[in-house]
Amino acid sequence: MIKNQKQTSGDHSVNYMAGGDIVINGLTREELLSLLEEHSKREAIPQEELLSTREDVKEVIAPLFEENSHIFHTYGPMTEERFNPESEMPEQWLRKIQDFILPNNRKIVETIERNKKLLLDFENDIFTKFKQHVDDFEAKHTGKTKANGTTFPEDILLILE
């Protein structure tokens, strides 16, 4: 049974409450469905269409996030190789940023941007953060700046649930 109760930590993540119920981005499934119902009325998108299109968009972006995540965890700066100053992994990491991560990020932003009307208000806020991260990351890795930008907002992985 889904309990109508928010997780106390309030962060945007999937968690399991004591009763075993799923909490997505700080919302119970019931709360999320209620927000989607309101959104469907406000945007004049039939509820069925809203849910299925959100699912379609998720299916497009999820594999791109998965590929980026795999690359990050295999070649990225947080592996054990970070303690080896002679590691050759950074060369691979920098190449994979250009060949995979930057193009994937662009595709993700374009796809969500095209379907922005499907996003709930809190998802829009998360998407704004993600876009800024993508811009900072791209600027850094295309030589536009040496400044270090915002970090990857993990909450983006849980939008369109």
Partner: protein, 212 residues
């Protein structure tokens, strides 16, 4: 939850830990998968020196777990650690030590690389650990130099300035993280303080020359 209970909770999740129990309010004992039993003293301190561990019976301890992140450890305490066969580190270090099955002589991967690399350089006569992040390098026919080893991924002006505040005197910063991204302001902050920032390759090259 007390500090020791929090630590027991964290450590018991490690795959190599068979069992764990509280000995007293600051010490725990764990049995490793390799059947050895280790005593771990739990502690919280920003700057560690001989005085700060005076209440710990180092004869009975294999690892001092300092839950303060990136704490300073004085050179004298580093020497005592080596001679008395115990290690000091944070939770990440304890996890790595448990992985290797050696808690009393643990050296982080980062420092293993740095020590080995410096020792093998043909201009290096001897290295001295001044504290947990600084090395004084005695060179053949060239002046001694002191480096501060930082593993930051994003090396900012703040990293440089807090390194100076925390560790004091040194000639250069060695960026031990091969992915390190130095900001322009980090370069300027180092330059304005009369220090250089060097990658591993740059340090290896500069050790052949007079730079200070």
């Amino acid at each position: 939850m007390s500090l020791i209970d929090w630590c027991i909770d964290k450590i018991s999740g490690h795959g190599k830990v068979e069992s764990i129990s509280k000995i007293d309010s600051t010490t725990l004992e764990l049995t490793h998968q390799n059947t050895n039993t280790y005593a771990v003293s739990v502690f919280s301190c920003e700057r560690m020196n001989l005085k700060s561990i005076s209440d710990i019976d180092i004869q009975k301890v294999d690892f001092i777990l300092n839950i303060k992140k990136d704490a300073y450890i004085s050179g004298k305490l580093m020497q005592l650690m080596e001679s008395a066969d115990f290690s000091i580190g944070g939770l990440g270090d304890l996890y790595s030590a448990l992985g290797s099955g050696n808690l009393s002589n643990y050296i982080s991967k980062e420092m293993q690389f740095v020590i080995r690399g410096l020792s093998q350089h043909n201009k290096v006569k001897r290295i001295y650990r001044l504290d947990n992040r600084r090395f004084e390098i005695e060179r053949k026919l060239l002046p001694d130099v002191t480096i501060l080893v930082l593993n930051d991924y994003d090396l900012t002006a703040e990293s440089v300035r807090s390194g100076i505040d925390k560790y004091g005197d040194f000639d250069s910063i060695l960026t031990s993280n091969p992915n390190c991204r130095r900001s322009s302001n980090a370069e300027k902050a180092a330059e304005n303080s009369g220090r250089k920032i060097m990658s591993w390759g740059e340090l290896m090259g500069n050790l052949n020359k007079k730079w200070n």
